[in-house]
């Protein structure tokens, strides 16, 4: 009895619709590309493209469940690609280099959180300004030329694949999604995020601490973006500029598609993961069909609007019923 109702619930859920959408995408792109879409090389590409977005999505989901947003995530990622490359080039051992990068990212998150909780600024505008600041600092500190990464361990981490197909970094990303998914859905901490996101005032009066949560989530989001930047640098074997432009919008779009609302308090990691897959599959499909890069920019904007409208109608239906 219980199981049938659960199955029925799943069939009606957003995630199910997204899975169908994903399957349709695969079929359509396979047909359009005359089978190239499910070619091993393309699947590799898809898997590669998921990694960075996955990290950004995870951070964005946590923040959005709380009702916040962080526009500076991809700028943090760009910053750390350069930072990790130049640290390694300076001869600093890789564990330290990564730790420094994460610390730097955490500082950015902390500043965001201070401005948002202490002064009550809009997360949007604060993180947008922060993105600009980081972009400039990155150019000033690291210059504009790509910096090569020669550390063999890190290059291996970035480029090697299990069975020639699945990148190590993807495994890391999946582990990250699994861990955060677990935290969000099963643990006390995850429950607190939902509660605070659902109603910060009520949660505060029930003994939870919304301010501390803001710090944790912003620092977490920045650190994840920083880690994503490092991993990207390892894959590209260099720190390159503008490597993750607007990655956070892909993450955000995926999260919204997967049922995480801007208002906070709803959605989950699994849905967001599927939402992200839908977008990645779409983008790689377009790349494969040799659609020009600027159409992709167009597409990502349109997708974001589509996701927002989708969310709007879904919540509209919910409040109506």
């Amino acid at each position: 009895m219980q199981t049938t109702s659960k199955a029925q619930k799943f069939l009606k859920s957003k995630t199910f619709i997204l899975l169908i959408l994903l399957a349709m995408e695969v079929v359509v792109f396979t047909v359009l590309s005359q089978g190239l879409y499910i070619n091993i090389i393309n699947i590799r590409n898809i898997l590669n493209s998921i990694v960075i977005t996955a990290f950004l999505t995870v951070g964005a989901v946590l923040l959005m469940v709380r009702g916040y947003v962080d526009i500076s995530a991809s700028a943090v990622g760009c910053f750390t690609t350069m930072m990790v490359a130049s640290l390694l080039a300076a001869g600093i051992p890789w564990p330290l280099a990564i730790i420094f990068c994460l610390l730097a990212s955490a500082v950015v998150g902390c500043v965001n959180a201070i401005l948002i909780t202490k002064c009550g600024f809009q997360p949007f505008i604060v993180t947008m300004a922060m993105a600009q600041v980081l972009k400039g600092l990155q150019y000033i500190i690291f210059g504009t030329n790509p910096i090569a990464i020669k550390d063999p361990t890190m290059v291996a981490l970035g480029t090697h694949r299990i069975a020639g197909l699945i990148p190590y970094t993807l495994i890391l990303a999946l582990i990250c999604i699994a861990i955060y998914g677990f935290i969000l859905s099963k643990t006390y901490f995850g429950k607190s995020i939902y509660m605070i996101g659902g109603n910060p005032q009520a949660a505060n009066l029930a003994g939870l601490n919304p301010k501390r949560m803001a710090y944790i989530l912003f620092i977490n989001d920045s650190a994840l973006a920083g880690l994503a930047g490092c991993l990207l640098a390892f894959r590209l074997k260099s720190g390159a500029l503008d490597s993750i432009t607007n990655g956070q919008f892909t993450g955000m779009t995926g999260a919204i598609l997967g049922g995480v609302s801007f208002g906070g308090g709803t959605g989950g990691m699994f849905g967001a993961f599927i939402g992200m897959l839908v977008i990645s599959a779409f983008k790689t499909g377009l790349t494969l069909l040799a659609v020009p890069a600027w159409w992709m920019t167009f597409g990502s904007g349109a997708l974001l609007l589509f996701a927002l409208a989708f969310d709007h109608f879904a919540s509209f239906r919910r409040t109506k019923s």
């Binding site: 809009q122 604060v126 300004a129 600009q132 972009k135 919008f249 974001l304 609007l305 927002l308 409208a309």
Partner: protein, 326 residues
């Protein structure tokens, strides 16, 4: 009477901003004596005319209680469109009018998402921003479209005295919009809308109608700004205007317009704030600081403006509370 006049002047925001601006000028002049060269001031006027023109539309929209982060992208598209229209051999006035009309349409699309679909203006205009940017690149196939010398390019390169024409256009527009805001019923209603939506509703003012008009207006002005830039540069580039909306927003906030309504500002204050921002950026260039500092100052100034605004507001609230108790 005399005392209160001086008090009023010193309390005036434009005045305090102007003092800061002079300080900035003097500091940069001391750092590099080339700062006061006439050419350099022409440069400041030219660069500020772009973000300044956009700031007019954006500030009006912000005062009515919304925001458009796609203003820069609308400008890009405007610049590209005017170049494309001119290439067909169209009369330049007609081309300019068509471009502005396209700007209106872009603004209306933004207004549709915000007013009809009830999406957050922040996020939906960011999404539209990437769409407009992409369209600008797509229609130009990612190249710049040259504009032949003619009456249209003179609009961008001409001078009256020492003042570049784009700067004069901006000033004229600021005067017109300043008059609109201060001396017409519509202007005051617009500000009332942003200041207190409930009061506006109770007074029978249609909030959606006003923001829709202001979105369209912001699109039109941004497109015009892009077109003027194209005239100055002799070509329409798909990425020329990007980032100008940040400067425009910063100038508006420094000038006292607050986020999502409530704050108001005269165009004069925005004008001074704009010159301040641009003098600062320009000064950094003149003393040969790495040009990428501009990104940092862009974001940093915005945050600084917000913080100053925050402290001023909280001090005022405190004073108000004490005043009420007495």
């Amino acid at each position: 009477m005399n005392g209160s006049f001086i008090k009023r002047i010193t309390r005036n925001k434009a005045f305090s901003l102007a003092i800061i601006m002079f300080a900035v000028w003097i500091i940069f002049f001391l750092l590099n004596h080339n700062y006061f060269v006439g050419e350099n001031f022409t440069g400041i006027m030219n660069t500020s005319s772009l973000s300044g023109t956009i700031a007019i539309g954006l500030a009006c929209l912000m005062m009515s209680g919304s925001i458009d982060l796609s203003a820069g992208a609308e400008g890009c598209f405007g610049g590209v469109l005017v170049a494309l229209f001119l290439r067909t051999g169209m009369n330049w006035i007609l081309a300019l009018l068509l471009t502005i009309l396209c700007g209106v349409v872009m603004g209306l699309i933004n207004a549709f998402w915000v007013n009809a679909m009830k999406l957050m203006p922040f996020i939906s205009t960011i999404a539209m921003s990437s769409i407009y940017q992409a369209m600008a690149v797509i229609v130009t196939k990612s190249s710049e479209i040259a504009i032949g010398e003619g009456p249209f390019t003179r609009l961008g390169t001409g001078h009256i005295g020492i003042f570049p024409l784009p700067f004069i256009i901006m000033v004229i527009l600021m005067v017109i919009y300043g008059l609109m805001l201060n001396y017409t019923k519509f202007g005051r209603r617009l500000i009332l809308c942003g200041g207190n939506r409930t009061a506006a509703r109770l007074a029978g003012i249609n909030h959606q109608k006003i923001t829709t008009i202001m979105f369209a207006n912001c699109g039109a002005i941004s497109a015009l700004a892009g077109a003027i830039l194209a005239a100055r540069m002799n070509n329409g580039g798909p990425r020329a205007v990007l980032g100008a909306e940040m400067d425009a927003m910063t100038a508006a906030i420094i000038g006292g317009v607050s986020f999502l309504g409530g704050g108001t500002s005269g165009m004069g204050t925005i004008f001074v704030a704009l010159l301040l921002v641009n003098s600062f950026n320009n000064g950094l260039q003149v003393i040969k600081v790495n040009s990428f500092w501009q990104f940092v100052t862009r974001g940093g100034l915005l945050i600084l403006a917000l913080i100053v605004d925050y402290f001023r507001e909280s001090r005022r609230q405190k004073a108000l509370k004490q005043g009420a108790k007495v």
